[in-house]
Symmetry: C2
Subunit: 356 residues, 2 copies
């Protein structure tokens, strides 16, 4: 039908000419109709209609106005991450809420492969960035910073004090999880870890862990081991398996962990996602949670409340973090550096004293 598939070179200036007015007046017809005489206004509108003019092109307006009225959310994962991952979804819900309240839009920017990455960030039309640093964060942060736009990194315990961050106290949160399990009497542990270094999954030695690129992962491990040491557990013998936080690598991790002579009685998982996979995997193996194995997750995603059994976990105020991030960007007063929100241990049915 009407759509010819190609050029639509009808500009404001065209209809101004057609209506016999200056482009200044034509512009006013759309942006401040009340100051234009009715007769003229109608004439211009008629011309616009006749020529198939779709209203002032935001591309043009933008340049003059300066503000895009949208905030960018960037991640190194594929775009579908925003809709699949439970953590991301709760976070996005918080971000959405804050954006709705202020009328801002959301631009999703992905950078799954490295070349696109740079370009996508560099050319994103946004007033600021929220960077998801769950994985592969460092490069993203650098690119975002180069845009010299307001930006906030989420969930990144970066060394770099110059990066505005909204996060949690990973050490304290992890310690709470470990403490809960040691209090229950557990002494044999395994850690389902997030990546310490980009793309590296598998068993990780304690020194490798100390040299982590991802400070968040390292800090959680520190928190875990801090508590385990207190009760005399030899942490050098606790298996640490880094996964890509997906089903496949988490299952590999579990195979390895439970393939040993003395399997753990308790699992410390650095994400609820891994913990939930573990729940399923153990159930398929006829291992009872919490009686054979206790599990404590991390994040506090909604799914953790309705799993079988419901998951004990360290809950982050995820949605709140999203809301704060938007706020930090919109009223970019430069004050919001490095905010740390409290976490909370939620005890549910996936943890209990070890057998016997």
């Amino acid at each position: 039908m009407a759509s010819p598939g190609n050029p639509r070179p009808v500009r404001l200036a065209d209809i101004a000419k057609a209506a016999g007015v200056s482009h200044g007046t034509a512009s006013n017809v759309f942006s401040r109709p009340e100051i234009v005489r009715e007769e003229v206004r109608e004439r211009v509108k008629a011309a616009a209609e006749a020529m198939g003019y779709g209203g002032p092109d935001p591309k043009g307006r933008l340049l003059r106005a300066g503000k895009v009225n949208a905030i960018g959310v960037a991640t190194a994962e594929p775009l579908s991450y925003f809709f699949d991952d439970p953590f991301a979804r709760v976070m996005m819900a918080g971000i959405s809420q804050a954006c709705d309240a202020t009328g801002a839009g959301i631009s999703l920017v992905s950078a799954a492969n490295n070349e696109q990455l740079a370009w996508n960030i560099q050319s994103a039309l946004v007033d600021g960035f929220i960077v998801f640093c769950i994985e592969g964060g460092s490069r993203l942060v650098q690119l975002a910073r180069e845009r010299k736009l307001p930006f906030v990194a989420l969930d990144l315990a970066s060394e770099d004090g110059s990066v505005a961050t909204i996060g949690i106290d990973n050490v304290a949160g992890a310690a709470m999880a470990a403490r809960h399990l040691t209090d229950l009497g557990h002494r044999r542990f395994a850690v389902l870890a997030l990546e310490f270094v980009d793309g590296r999954t598998g068993l990780v030695s304690p020194d490798q862990a100390q040299n982590a690129v991802y400070a968040g992962t390292r800090d959680r491990l520190t928190g875990y081991f801090q508590e385990l040491s207190r009760v005399g557990v030899d942490t050098t013998r606790v298996p640490i398996y880094a996964t890509a936080n997906d089903v496949a690598s988490t299952k590999s991790a579990l195979e390895t962990i439970f393939g040993t002579a003395e399997p753990p009685t308790a699992i410390l998982a650095m994400s609820d996602r891994m913990a939930l996979v573990a729940l399923e995997w153990l159930s398929a193996r006829k291992l009872n949670v919490p009686n054979d194995v206790s599990i404590v997750g991390f994040d506090g995603v909604p799914e953790a409340a309705v799993s079988e059994p419901p998951l004990t976990t360290v809950a982050q105020p995820i949605a709140e973090m999203g809301r704060l991030a938007v706020k930090a960007i919109l009223d970019n007063d430069g004050t919001t550096n490095r905010r740390q929100l409290p976490v909370e241990l939620i005890v549910r049915a996936s943890s209990a004293p070890p057998r016997g």
Copy 2:
């Protein structure tokens, strides 16, 4: 730190002057570095660095280049709809996939309140729109069309042949659901409907249904009743309750439907979301599904496969619809008008013959 909170008026022209070259050359340094002499290139880059230039502003580039390289997804719901609603999420996953493949970004545009709505659509920086027409679609479609950008309406069985649409055969899908239940022997039904008219929930009479604004809702009802009539059910006595497709109004619907002397043995739900709420509500009432009541949903969202009991439903190729929509927008050849995809009845455990 470095972020002063206000103006950053450093433009390409500024660094050009600082480096003692023309703006043309300065531009080349960033867009085609290979054609400018190394010495000059370094000089310009140094100047940029020194003055805190964040690279060519996409706002400026955009005007010249024309393409935003992002597609807009618009809905009349709040932005969080994209992350909360199961149907929307699967659809967005399909859209994400197609966008990732082509390197395009996604702009989420919401229009929860009417004034913002118009403006948000009119000022969205996108190359085309995908309009979610689940609810409140008509106005959205009109606004999107006025932008004269490529656009596709999803899930809208519009009368208007000039609107490009990707959808399903609602009548046929609904008929399959009803046929399944009548085949099982059911004769007493209730319909959990989506809205027929904007924002109107509650019991709906058959004539009101015929005057629906939302053709999709009406068509599904037509499909249901077509089959029910075939086996002699008096459709005028089948309660039709329109909900807002949320928990609260679905519960009200169920209260009403099961508050009668002769409650139905089978429920036809126009969305899985409602069907899942019904599952829970009935279980809380100690009514067994499928023995006391059978339920057939609509959509085929992932949650329907893992509910208790798993839900019999009419599955749409949701993700595929999303993928096709993106494709239709990107290679806007004007050919993609009104595409209808097949639906499929997935029989699970929520439907069985009525008692006795």
